[in-house]
Point group: C2
Chain length 616, copies 2
């Protein structure tokens, strides 16, 4: 592997330092000092260790690199420029609106798998990327660079645990231990054995290396490559601001660009003095070999749902059955769960595709993070847990949105309708969380048929999608042949004389239907809409309905009022002059029987009836 000489790699490191300082100075902001500490590591990784095609960052067999400490973005960009992907001059566009070289890396750049900048996430994605090598039969290795401040994030230890559990010897982490955080020294300073001991206790081969000694870094990476059955971490002793005598190892320089002009010029000159220029530029070895190619499944050939109208089936169970069906047909589909597979019913998928199912134990952040990594490498991951516990990974989901990843989340046991387990287990803010991601698809089916159809829809949709499933059994409402396009809705009841339109989703569809029967008996016809696609919402149907009922619209949802179905409907009807009244959960709920809670918290048929009467 060591075709590049030490001197040549030192020169690369110097060039990366110069580029990092120059580009941040030009931008007037950024984190040069955290780039300087990582420069030697980056030089060795990109120009001695990793095997990849620098002209095609998406080659499926390229070794992968994840910059978990995303604020060192300028040196990542410099490395790819140095590798020849784009001209060095473009680095000077750093952080400008017109450039994709943003303040922190995002997949707008073809060499970035996942957006980083929220610390502790890149390494979770790296777990998925490393696992994906097994899925596609590739020999690519995955490298991830973390900061030492970053390892305070609990998600790092979720990742550490998962990597050792799955014996990811194709994964190598490097901790750039420059001993300075943003606001003060890091917890450990340069007591690196303490850091290494933690990784070792989590099952990693852990080495302390000198992060400014090319040979020592190389030796560490050699060890990593030679290690089997466990992942390796190099804890690299570095100096923040290394290379610049005025700054190196000093506090108060985090996230500060050098001033353009004299300060920067002097710094560049000092760095230029560090060139040896004795050896030829290193060359990058190509990827190891060809992974197996994938043929996408033919979703048109999936069987129609096999349910009989009126049968009682929980949507969570229908989801599990559906995932098994599409998962059998599509080898890109991957399942992940957090020790609730027998409640979400992801175990049905595990039964038909155990090699593509990953138990992530009770660690939702790495579950979602690994799914992000899978999605970035061509898989279609379906991470699942109770909807309330997806909230544990909210920041990961936010970053997955920024990364526009092809990930399919599922949250079961939504709302007060779970009953006795109480509020800690009730998701009442998941629709808000998912709707807050631009372009995320948010689905909330009410019955088994629509669930099965929508699982296939979300698998085929390119982008982030979420399905909310329910704990109680609900009657099969639709015919096997019914279709449920994303962005659609179903008008379940309507007449020419409707006095109001009631929009529900999930379990409240049935409350609305009950209310319909009661009101019909009293001579008050209403329109009932199943808004199974909460985002995008079916604005056309809602507007038509709102017009027909003279603007008397009622929404009802097993969710808090903020950010859920009611807000979605209200915004769709914002210009229609409709009055959108929202029935939603409006206080912290408590334990009780499902039906009791649906009623006590204001979203039952009784409340719909009352609200419709008050309106009409």
């Amino acid at each position: 592997m060591a075709a590049s000489s030490v001197a040549a790699l030192q020169d690369v490191a110097t060039q990366l330092r110069i580029d990092s300082v120059a580009s941040t100075s030009r931008a007037g902001s950024g984190h040069p000092t955290t780039c300087l500490s990582a420069a030697d590591i980056m030089a060795v990784l990109f120009f001695s260790e990793m095997r990849f095609d620098p002209k095609n960052p998406q080659n499926p067999d390229n070794d992968r690199f994840v910059l978990s400490k995303g604020h060192a973005a300028p040196i990542l960009y410099a490395a790819w420029a140095e590798a020849g992907l784009f001209p060095r001059e473009q680095l000077m566009e750093l952080r400008t609106f017109e450039s994709d070289l943003e303040g922190h890396p995002t997949p707008r750049l073809n060499f970035v798998d996942v957006a980083t900048g929220s610390l502790g996430q890149g390494i979770c994605a790296a777990i998925g990327i490393a696992l994906n090598a097994r899925r596609i039969g590739s020999a690519y290795r995955t490298y991830v660079l973390l900061g030492d401040g970053e390892i305070a994030e609990g998600s790092v230890w979720e990742a550490a645990d998962a990597a050792s559990h799955y014996k990811l010897d194709n994964l190598c982490a490097i901790v750039d231990a420059n001993a300075l955080g943003q606001s003060q020294p890091t917890e450990f300073g340069h007591e690196l054995e303490r850091i290494a001991a933690r990784w070792a206790a989590f099952g990693w081969k852990a080495l302390v290396v000198d992060g400014h000694d090319i040979s020592d870094i190389r030796k560490g990476l050699d060890t990593a490559r030679a290690t089997s059955g466990q992942p390796t971490v190099l804890v690299a002793r570095t100096v923040k601001g290394k290379g610049l005598s005025a700054i190196a190892g000093k506090e108060g320089w985090h996230g500060k660009a050098l001033k353009s002009g004299e300060e920067t010029d002097k710094a560049i000159k000092e760095l230029e003095g560090q060139f040896t220029r004795t050896d030829p530029k290193p060359s990058i070895p190509g990827p190891r070999g060809a992974s197996k190619s994938e043929t996408p499944a033919d979703y048109g050939k999936l069987p129609a749902p096999n349910y009989k109208k009126g049968d009682l089936v929980a949507t969570r169970e229908a989801w599990g059955t559906a995932l098994a069906t599409v998962g059998k047909a599509d080898s890109r589909i991957v399942g992940l769960d957090a020790d609730v597979k027998n409640s979400t019913f992801s175990d049905r998928f595990e039964k038909v595709a155990s090699d593509r199912f990953f138990e992530m134990f009770i660690a939702e952040q790495v579950m979602v993070g690994a799914a992000m990594g899978f999605a970035a490498r061509g898989a279609i991951p379906f991470p699942s847990t109770f909807a309330c516990f997806l909230y544990r990974a909210a920041d990961f989901i936010r970053m997955a949105g920024i990364s526009t990843l092809n990930m399919k989340l599922t949250g079961s046991h939504a709302g007060v309708s779970i009953g006795e387990d109480g509020p800690s287990q009730m998701a009442l803010e998941d629709l808000a969380m998912m709707r807050a991601i631009p372009n995320a698809v948010v689905l909330y089916p009410c019955d088994a048929v629509s669930t099965e159809r929508l699982v296939a829809e979300m698998a085929q949709h390119k982008g982030l999608a979420y399905m909310r499933t329910s704990r109680p059994k609900t009657p099969v409402t639709y015919e096997p042949g019914d279709t449920f396009p994303i962005g659609g809705s179903k008008v379940l009841r309507q007449s020419a004389d409707d006095k109001a339109m009631v929009v529900g989703a999930g379990i409240t569809v049935f409350e609305a239907l009950k209310a319909y029967d009661i009101l019909k008996a009293e001579g008050i016809p209403i329109r009932v809409v199943d808004a199974y696609s909460v985002q995008p919402i079916d604005a056309a149907t809602l507007k038509e309905g709102a017009k027909a009922v003279k603007g008397r619209v009622l929404t009802v949802e097993d969710h808090y009022s903020a950010g859920g179905l009611g807000d979605a409907v209200a915004e769709a009807l914002a210009s229609e002059g409709a009055t959108v009244e929202r029935l939603a959960v409006r206080e912290i709920p408590r334990s009780g029987e499902p039906d009791e809670l649906v009623d006590k918290f204001g979203i039952s048929a009784r409340h719909i009836v009352e609200a419709v009467k008050a309106k009409s």
Copy 2:
């Protein structure tokens, strides 16, 4: 300490087992087997180890117990019944709507500090509870019981790190290692040395004990009490379902109540056979001593804000100044930050009250979790970080809502107006997250005066509150004497002929004012409202305004459209027949200059002007 005999404690454990089985059987749901594994530990803790007043669970000097594995709630309730706080018969009301003995513990019960049931949170709260003992000068000790499946949660390791960093020798964790998760065996089974090694690497004294051997548990607790300078963890080997021969150690019994009738009767009989009835019931020793009492600060005596109209001050900086002011006056106030104190300006508080400031490093979950513990024990914690990184602790904030804790979150650097750092650093969903908590106060001031006034308001408010601050400097807009009650708003511009009402908050207030000037010059007067209290929102003023402008309402916010200011205003006006148009960020943003981004993403004065013209 060992006044209670082994036999007496065994009998207590048997009683707790019986109560756990009986109450879950009666409820028809719950987690009896996870109670059975913990019974001996609970018996020793409550009836041999902990010093507390069983008649007054809120005595400030009581030893504290946190059930981090919240699904073992029935045995917690049984322990307090056994201690004499309430009659044992009440246990049979478990999980019913009328009872506070919910499926998972919540502070509706006076012996519960924080709601648990989302795993990995109780131990974070325990950090704050243990730190609080130092704040009030109490000798109370804090005990926390975790499950072995639970320790996969990264937040557990954030807590482990924080506890050893702060040398919390008044904290003792017990891991109930029953080796079975919900859906399958735990990762480690009974290889408990592997678990202990992780805790040891994180700086804890770590012991493996037999969790069904009263003497061994006691010995472990003796060691914990004798250990100084570091926290202690007992990794307790237990059997899930211990005591019931048909169930003990068997898979498939998680979260399942025994069937009423024969199955339960037989189980109870088997347990009753385990009574020794040889020794008298153990007595509980009272708390160790008196903490110092606190006199609440006189907020009326705080000086008025000291800013000159037109001065440029970022609200984040004004927040730091204000927190220092109220923090100096009120000894209950505690500051916590996640390595960004020099950006949030919480370092101003640290300067005046360093003994009440806690650097939690880059670990937002334990930062918020510790704050929850502080709040539960009478402190007024102000955890702060970038608003986007509070999202990392979303699930903690959700549980803090369920716990109705007196916690004051602050998120800085909100929105696209941060500029060049890019989308990973931009909070655009924090208002949605906070509004999704019923009764949470959500504040978003636009200038230094309102910020300072609102910091004092939130400190005095009883309950969860959130302040969103901004990175850019904004002009001081208000007079030092102006007041800003929670739930209020300020009408900054109005006339009898207003053609529209523009509602902004934070930085968009100034975009609205710029739009006002432009429109005024064109003869189009508008009403401008500063909705600094996003929740509760000033519905009365909004309704009055909407009426005055004939329903032409425009909201503008540096936040995604879902769940933010626009939705809050729209819901407040739902019955008014107003058309509420929302200007908000509607796509994933990118790096750029702050003003450029505010314009490119559709929330600048130019867009307000266009929207008003289109409306009028």
